[in-house]
Symmetry: C2
Subunit: 342 residues, 2 copies
């Protein structure tokens, strides 16, 4: 367990010089530096991070706060963040903040206050006022992934636009009875889901079509259950579904198969995400790349740490339409060729 003092002694220099050689700050003769590094290597010296944090005030650690870990989107974002941080030598400490739990309160009131990080990435946090206040009180740069905060930089998909394009795709194919599956209600639910629902509304309104919103838990089983309800009533059954996300869409496809409704012949389904399972189910969808969003957020944050003063930035990613085999013209219509829209 050798310290910098050992390295210094062994290399025949002072602690000050050894430190400069190791950190690369300040003047050190090339030969001296090489010698110090060699000695450090031999001794297996590794700087104590607490000591250097204490001295510098920087931790080389980034905090990530997210409400879920076991959902595709979040796990992907996390991997994207991790990848960038790893490359830059930053540690990542994770704070799980499930809405409504006592753990979440503790994260905001205790854990974050410790400031064991130089900056924070908040993923789909949707903080309430008190939480937001704590967040800014920390006095460290914050970048959000997904969210509408005016107070932090943010990287996000243009959800409204995505849902609009999804709906438009179906309308272009000739559908008129198009239902939206997902989100709990117009008021409730995550901001993302409201935005997507809003995009659907807007698109339907523009086309003069009537809205049909079936609430569903935003998950695969949730989509399944809601689709079973929606589809088993012949009166209510639409010819196409816009799902709040791919998991819901896949749930709907599975439900349709169960009910003997052919996709896309009798029912078109479009999702938003390009989930890892989307291809397998031939799901037409709007791609958002959570991994890239995570990576972008990490890059942005590190940038702000380097730069003196960080102004608030907003990156809004445009989704790409990926046409697969879950959408086609409505039943009873002549087939129409549809090219992939860029």
């Amino acid at each position: 367990m050798s310290g910098i003092e050992d390295v210094a002694r062994e290399a025949g220099v002072s602690k000050a010089t050894a430190s400069r050689a190791l950190t690369g700050h300040g003047y050190v003769a090339a030969a001296t530096r090489a010698r110090v590094l060699r000695v450090a290597e031999t001794l297996g010296y590794v700087a104590s991070s607490s000591a250097s944090s204490l001295a510098t005030g920087r931790t080389r650690n980034i905090g990530v706060v997210m409400p879920y870990l076991n959902r595709w989107f979040f796990a992907e974002v996390l991997e994207g963040i991790q990848e960038v941080l790893l490359a830059q030598g930053f540690d990542l400490t994770l704070y799980d903040a499930k809405p409504g739990t006592d753990g979440r309160r503790r994260v905001f009131d205790d854990f974050l206050a410790r400031k064991r990080f130089d900056g924070l990435i908040a993923v789909a946090l949707e903080p309430d006022d008190h939480e937001l206040e704590r967040l800014v009180a920390i006095g460290r740069p914050v970048v959000s992934v997904v969210g509408d905060s005016q107070d932090t930089s943010v990287v996000r998909l243009d959800d409204m636009h995505a849902a609009r394009r999804a709906t438009a795709h179906l309308i272009d194919l000739g559908h008129e009875r198009i239902a939206f599956l997902g989100g709990i209600s117009d008021q409730d639910g995550a901001h993302v889901d409201r935005e997507r629902l809003g995009g659907y509304h807007a698109s339907m309104r523009d086309a003069g079509l009537t809205i049909e919103h079936a609430a569903a838990d935003v998950s695969l089983p949730g989509g399944y259950d809601a689709a079973v309800d929606l589809l088993s009533d012949p009166e209510r059954r639409p010819t196409a579904i816009v799902a709040a996300c791919d998991e819901v869409a896949i749930g709907a496809i599975i439900a349709a198969r169960r009910l003997g409704i052919a996709v896309p012949a009798a029912l078109s389904v479009v999702g938003i995400d390009n989930h890892e399972y989307a291809e397998m189910f031939g799901l037409t969808t709007l791609e958002q790349s959570p991994r890239e969003q995570g990576a972008a957020a990490a890059e942005l944050l590190l940038e702000q740490l380097r730069g003196a003063e960080a102004e608030r930035t907003e990156m809004r990613l445009q989704p790409r339409l990926i046409v697969r085999s879950s959408t086609s013209t409505p039943p009873g219509t002549a087939s129409v060729a549809v090219g992939a829209v860029p």
Copy 2:
């Protein structure tokens, strides 16, 4: 940004007493302690973690190393760990160590060496010799989740036993042509998959049945692809499948449906995991609860941190059979009632 000195002054005591009052170590008069705590509260004092780590040598932080984040099992384990740590006031820093990447090398050679944690949880790491050496060189307690390490404590499912029971369940139902789906080869692949394959082998051997092992990537699409291959050849088609895990099993069920093979009438499928999607697909499976495994590992580690000397422990969890609707007697057999085996 007030320090302990401010608190001490304001409370009219020395730094030493303030520290004792705040940490709860050593003698402090009840009244004094209350006063110090009140002052700290008012000032919004939060101890600098780097300073206290430096002074005590403890970080109140646990490192978690895992090769994937975006797979169900891993995400669940992580949540289990997180939950326990959160309750005990420990931070969690995450190290992503995907096999074969340069990032993994850096994690072992650079990141872990910094010892920014009091202990480590390694999830399904399967470290090679060099990596294992680094791991023990850190000199901090390590608990593995999944794995066969002789050098660390470990929490794991009895995979061999699970596969055995899965296979036995099918044999009890009267199946004779039972294939194993998953794992790349007998030599290759993760240790878990080899164990499970081994359990299948053992069970089949005991019953005098012939082995049929179809390699598959251990994922839902992997199971799908492999099942399409296996099932579309009528000569080769078994009456039952033991899948390496639920994701593979679900892939197989989806493939069967696509091919028009009724489950369970024409094909029984059993998985291992009790994945979140298992219920939706009516999958008969052996439950392992990754969340509990994660929590158990965290508890075990914290225990070892408290205790003076930590002897190596091994927790081997027994899986529970959950019978749903994906298994039944083979085609052409009179139906037999099967109760849920405890």
